[in-house]
Symmetry: C2
Subunit: 359 residues, 2 copies
Amino acid sequence: MIECTLTVELAERSYPIHIGTNGLDQLANLLKDVFKSKQAVVVTNETVAPLYLDAVKQQLHQLSIQVIEVVLPDGEQYKTGQYLDQIYSVMLVNKCDRKTTLVALGGGVIGDMTGYAAATYMRGVSFVQIPTTLLSQVDSSVGGKTGINHPLGKNMIGAFYQPKAVVADMNVFDTLPDRELSAGLAEVIKYGLIDDIAFLEWLEANIDALMSRDKEKLGEAVAWSCRNKARIVAEDETESGVRALLNLGHTFGHAIEAGMGYGVWLHGEGVAAGMVLAAKTSAALGYISEADVARVISILAKANLPVEHPKLGLERYLELMSVDKKNEAGKIRFILMKSLGQSFITADVPVAVLEQVLS
Amino acid sequence: MIECTLTVELAERSYPIHIGTNGLDQLANLLKDVFKSKQAVVVTNETVAPLYLDAVKQQLHQLSIQVIEVVLPDGEQYKTGQYLDQIYSVMLVNKCDRKTTLVALGGGVIGDMTGYAAATYMRGVSFVQIPTTLLSQVDSSVGGKTGINHPLGKNMIGAFYQPKAVVADMNVFDTLPDRELSAGLAEVIKYGLIDDIAFLEWLEANIDALMSRDKEKLGEAVAWSCRNKARIVAEDETESGVRALLNLGHTFGHAIEAGMGYGVWLHGEGVAAGMVLAAKTSAALGYISEADVARVISILAKANLPVEHPKLGLERYLELMSVDKKNEAGKIRFILMKSLGQSFITADVPVAVLEQVLS
Ligand SMILES: NC(=O)c1ccc[n+]([C@@H]2O[C@H](COP(=O)([O-])OP(=O)(O)OC[C@H]3O[C@@H](n4cnc5c(N)ncnc54)[C@H](O)[C@@H]3O)[C@@H](O)[C@H]2O)c1
Ligand SMILES: NC(=O)c1ccc[n+]([C@@H]2O[C@H](COP(=O)([O-])OP(=O)(O)OC[C@H]3O[C@@H](n4cnc5c(N)ncnc54)[C@H](O)[C@@H]3O)[C@@H](O)[C@H]2O)c1
Ligand SMILES: [Zn+2]
Ligand SMILES: [Zn+2]
């Protein structure tokens, strides 16, 4: 069984990611040096709480830590200022101070909100991530992006803030719905497409094992993904350059998510269809071949992901993409593929090409 | 006339503070290298807008900058998530991106909120401070503390985030109400009491000139104060050690502000009465003499500041002070005076002493 610890190298903000099949059982041991006081606030949701909250509490009690719980409703639509405020209120009522540690137990929604609460409660307290979806293990728990949605735009409010540790346990996938597993695989495949053809080939060879939840293979895929993301993040902690590549498929993907109404398409599903659009745009501009596009579509389809985008119309896509955080001076910026496994950022995509690809 | 530029030394986050009597007239010149795009959002309030907004806009237009205005209602009670959200909404509606610069034009309320909006909008955009109260020039514009109030506690939500530049113009004091000038002087006097007996003596010699708004002397006091605060902040950017000394008078002061209801006592007034309480506590513990306490009271009284705390009762004070951000493991931490002009932090104040001092 895979059991490994990666370090995300960010000078004094470096932190470990523990990947394996006994993270939850070993939590007390893995986190024993993280807590600065005997008080922790575990933030989770109504779906995850009955599954894993007791296990986490039991481990923290072994460290004599007083556990305060915040159980939020489940869903992207609750990643808002209002529910963030609920976390703050529980913390204030319980007189949490700057030594209190926040623990995010859940998927990316819980991770992003908890991280943002940690970044902003009393101008910053420590936090730990226990990501329980594949997507959150390979993506949101690496890189320090935290935040909430605004009625006028997704993830518009946030902070760069690093956790003290991440515990990624493959056993949590036992209860993960199929659709969520697939959504996570979209981000995994993304790492191959960004700059790692070897990983893409490994994924093509192992996609069936991953889909049948082989924990060994899942652990490898998580470790490989985290390593790739950590490398890119370490080069560019605050997203001024190369880090933008991590948004492959996301310019279109976010537009799909927002355009369909948050919660209708999963984030990873939007990213999958978005990567197909990025591939098609790259082909239309002459960078990659139709065979390359077919290869992108094929692996995503084997992961049971949508490879057709919803037909929202060019105008609506442009409008939705115009609020993307990558944009500069009003120009929409895209991540495209120079070749398979080699992506780049550009603002030079003629509207006619977008029209053709989106039609 | 005094015209000087201090630098707050924080490595790649270092920034200049321009102090003088023509900052507003010279804004375009002083800020010409700050803006990353041609879009700026000026946040101000209904009191300050009619006084200085046109001057600021005129200067920014000289730099061909498109100015978006956010004019908030005036008052500490609007330093909340709701009004923060108004800033976010205006920015989103105007498609502000990561290169947009926020400009805070006003006192500490506007400065704190605008800085926090800058820290969290799209995970961080640039901002500039044009502080228009004495308090905000000598205190809130140095050090990078930004934030908002929560219904359960003042300044509980926030971030450490540095401006790109600060412009402190003595001419804005022409319109500042007497009570606000005095409140600012409380923080000025604080810098003498923390660790600068020479400054305290200078203040004792010049308090009348300051009260009659001598701009030369005010400029000197602002520069001296900013220099002292910048030195302490540079030593300890995120408030883990020596920076706590800046909270002299604030443990009690915040309790007074909250206990009386925000807006009844001004921040600086609470700090003034709080510094008297800190001095009395220090005397009760044998650190300073009754003569020293009298000297603290005398200069504050000459600045027309309250030197008597409201009689809220020991219980209420303890309750209010128990949510202070300096606290650790539930212990209230105080800044006391070892001698005049030499303060220190301690959690060892017997309740009996507090009872005596607060009665
Ligand atoms: N911070 C970042 O860098 C980053 C990166 C990617 C995505 N995100 C954010 O992450 C969010 C999406 O994350 P997500 O896909 O994890 O969604 P999610 O957090 O909504 O989780 C998906 C669903 O799975 C449930 N669930 C979680 N773990 C489970 C388990 N072990 N067993 C059964 N059910 C489980 C959740 O309750 C939820 O219903 C979005 O808000 C997105 O913006 C952030
Ligand atoms: N960030 C920090 O480090 C820090 C430090 C100290 C205080 N603060 C915060 O600052 C706030 C207090 O700041 P403040 O004392 O400047 O209060 P303020 O911003 O409320 O301003 C005081 C009053 O003066 C008015 N005003 C401002 N400039 C004026 C001018 N030139 N002419 C006429 N009227 C003018 C304002 O409209 C307001 O009515 C508090 O919220 C406090 O928490 C922050
Ligand atoms: Zn993603
Ligand atoms: Zn103060």
